[in-house]
Each structure stands twice: as C-alpha cells, then as structure tokens.
C-alpha cells in the first residue's frame, strides 16, 4: 500500500529533510516504488510534481531533495500500486480546481466496489480508487456549496468528515486534502501526526542516518504540523489518529477534530448544511 506525508505551517517551510527520509521508502527502505508526487501550496495555487519512477532515485526526486521549495502546505505521496497500473495518471497527489483554488489529495488505503455516481463536474484522469474518491468528494462539495464565494474550513470540515465516513464503508481511507487554506487529514488504519514549535529539538530520520537541528532551521515563531503514514523521525512524539478521525490544520495548529463515536448514519442534508455533525464528537 502507499504512504503519504504532509506538512502544514504558519510560514513558508521547506520539506527537503522530511522528503529525504520519506522518499527513501520509495524503493530503498520501503517497497513503494510505483511513482511519487508532491504538491506545494502557495496561496490559491499549487505547484505539482508527479513521476512514475522510484522516489528513492528518480531524477525529479533528487532535484526535489536538493532544491528547497518553500510552502505553507505540502502534500507528498509514494505509491505501491494496488488498484490502477503504474503510470503517470495514477500518481498522487491529484490536483483539481474548485472555486478558484487548487485542491490536492493523497490517499493511503484501498477502496472496494467504490463506483459512485459521477455527474461530470470532476472526473478521474487515471483509474485508481483514490482519484475517484477525490473527484467524488469535490463533486459533493461543489453540489452542496453552489455559491461562488468559497466557504471556509469551518463550514467544510463537517461535510468532509461526513464524506470521509461514507467512503470509508468501502475500505481503508487514510487521506490528506488541502486547498492551501486548511489541511484536512483523515485517519482510518495508519496515520500519525506531530507538531513542531519552539523550543525546537534535533530531529533524526527513521530511514536515513541524518539529523537536522530544527532550532537552526526555524525561527522562534514558526509552528508546523507533520502528518505521515508512519513516523518519519525517531525522536519526536508522533501520535496515531483514532480510527475514523478527521483533523483540520491551519497555520501549523489543529483547529478542528471529529471522530465517530459510533458508525455514522447517513442523513440527507439540506444544501449547504452539514448533516452528520450530530453523530460526530467535534
């Protein structure tokens, strides 16, 4: 199965250190060698790199380890194909525009018999369950929020939680989603998070014999959250998500959280109104 990594920060931050450890799993310390990708959100726009090679040694991955691109939100993914062949169109992150912002999405997991009705507003380019789930979520958000002005994460978060719970009925659905304003992370089976802020420690990678003095790399007011399938460093307090938990991060802080107390019950919502909040513990 794939692995994902994401960062959300209150200041433009580089991820070359974390990506050095993460990308080793794409063919060196891990078997996720069927493609990789990164999305760097810079305001409403996103800079997007995908490749169907091995993240551990592909030329593009080497370039991205050596040339820092600073961004407030970064999503990264290394792929081990479960559904869909090894090809560019199946590499995460997937990117789409909705309401004048780029949205990006990475998935770890496997959805069975997931063939929702698609109205054509966002359609998959490749043939993975992951891209289908992303397009379906954007389609449903678009359907519920037809107004031109984009709703904020406060309005979107309960709907994303509802959609995540719905789609999770089809299998394992760990994902990270962002529009550059907020980062939504959903844990199903394997997802971990850690926050870094002053005073910063020295971080040691799990996958490489490499350490970084975070105090030298960051200022006293910098603050960031890292999310990953498995912890990337071995001396930081990574904590797992609960099953079915959705967390929202803005400016390097968790601002919203919901985990189902019991299996969510699908309620048809009025347009724009989150329907499942009553069965979620916010």
């Amino acid at each position: 199965m794939c692995q994902l990594f994401a960062l959300n920060s209150n200041a433009p931050t580089e991820v070359t250190f974390a990506f050095t450890g993460f990308s080793a799993r794409g063919g060196a310390t891990g078997e996720h060698a069927d493609g990789f990708g990164l999305a760097f959100h810079d305001g409403a726009a996103c800079r997007h790199f995908v490749d169907d090679g091995r993240a551990s040694d592909a030329a593009l991955a080497c370039f991205l380890r050596q040339h820092a691109i600073r961004a407030r939100t970064v999503l990264a993914h290394i792929r081990k194909a479960t559904q869909g062949s090894v090809q560019l169109s199946n590499c995460h992150p997937f990117v789409r525009e909705w309401q004048g912002r780029h949205w990006s999405f990475c998935h770890n997991g496997d959805l069975k018999d997931f063939h929702p009705r698609m109205n054509g507003s966002h359609l998959p380019v490749g043939d993975t369950d992951s891209e289908r789930a992303f397009c379906f979520m954007l389609q449903e958000l678009r359907r519920r929020f037809r107004r031109r002005v984009a709703p904020g994460w406060q309005v979107l978060a309960p709907v994303v939680a509802e959609l995540a719970a719905d789609i999770s009925r089809h299998g394992v659905f760990n994902f990270v989603l962002s529009d550059g304003q907020a980062m939504y992370a959903h844990g199903a089976t394997r997802l971990h998070a850690v926050q870094r802020k002053h005073p910063f420690a020295t971080a040691h990678l799990v996958d490489r014999d490499l350490a970084l003095d975070l105090g030298a790399a960051n200022g006293p007011h910098d603050r960031m959250v890292l999310v990953a399938t498995e912890p990337l460093t071995r001396n930081e307090p990574w904590a797992p998500f609960a099953e079915g938990e959705l967390r929202v991060f803005v400016d390097g802080e968790q601002v919203w959280q919901a985990a189902p107390k019991r299996l969510p019950v699908r309620v048809e919502s009025a347009r724009g109104a989150p329907a499942i909040a009553s069965v979620l513990a916010a």
Copy 2:
C-alpha cells in the same frame, strides 16, 4: 508580452534542444523573465511544471533542459507580465480537467475588458486575462457538450475556432491548447509553425550557438510539428499563421484549419452544433 512554444508528434519526443533555445528568451536573449512553465501530455494525463523565476537560469528550468521528458504533446511558455502580478498562479501553461483528460493552455497576447460571465465550472486561480480566457473556453465546451463521452477534435475544432474568434474581439489572442489527443493553435498577430519529418536536417538554434542533427535524434517514421511565437531555429521553413487562423495538429500532422474570411458573426448555436463554420474557410 509572453512567448509560447509547443510540439505535437506521432511518437514520444523530447524537447530539451528546443527548450534550450526557447528558455534563453526568458531572461538572457529575451526579456520574458516573469515565470515559465511546461506541460507534457502523456495520454490523458499531463505532467505540469511552473515557476515564477527566470527560464534562462532558474533551477527548475536547468533541470528540464538536462533531463529529457518524452511526450507526444508539449506546451511551453515564458512570461512577461502584462496583466496579473509576478506569481506562481499567473504562470502558463494553465491546466484543468475536463471529461477525464487534462487540458493545458498557453497564451501570447493581451485581452482588454474581457470579463465573461463565469458559471463556476472552471474558475481562474490567478488574475490574468489568459487564464480567464482558458476557463471561459472550457466552460463553453462543457456547456455545449454535456454528454459524458468526450467529443473528438473533429467536433471540437469548429467550436474552438468560434470561441477564439469571439475572444479575439477583446485583443491579441495567440494561443495553444491541448488535451493530449489534439493540439489547437490559434494565430492572431505572431505565431509560426514548422513540420519536421524524414529526411531530417540539422537544426541551428536562433538563441544559442547550438545545433542538433535531427536525423540522429529521430527515426525515419517520426513526424512532428513545432509552433512558436517566433521561430526557434534559423534554418528551418517556419511559416506564420494568418490572422485569426486556427490549426489542429494530431500525430505531428495538421488535420484541420480555419481562417476567417471576414469578421466572424456570432450565431447562437444549438447545443453541440458548431455555429460559425459557415463564415470560416475550413
């Protein structure tokens, strides 16, 4: 004003030689230093690189000159900002998904007072006239072809020609557009094309003291069309587009062409039916 370059070929082709000459105009031999980008179409998907630096010396541009990415259709752009500030979201090519394919678009020109009614299906992320025109064209294509199965270029070409003529009323509208199946090129003031096929010559760049033996770089059955604002090589028969001419290229051959004999008259079309063919010379 910006410059654009595009290639359409019958086999995956690298553009490192052409991009070496073209990117020199992004800060070295030309003043187009406000960002650059490339889109490499590989089937339905597109690999997309944009940067707000100078194409002549930005690290990403160096990487793309040194590492060949082979594709059947490639769009490239170097920007000199006329509308919209120097930022990532204003760099061409712009990319959107429609009907399960990535579409990319580059513009050279300047549109005045172009504020069409946008229904939200495709919205600009940045603030250029170019991205607005691209989103408007996709919106209109989506509106006219609501069926799920994508129409081919034979059906789309007259509608693209009609939209191009409509938008051209607002100013200079040289552009290249592709979904990886066909490449649409519209000339307004400055656009040139050349076809390369067996027997191949040796090409000499205009902007660098560099030559390439195209016979050694290509097989006897390879065939390609290059389109550029200004010719990239000085010993090939680049020919200008007529004003208002739209050409469509598939597999390195021109397959469709239309140039207005007179100013196009806007006719409201029935859904899916090209309306302006009567005033175009196909």
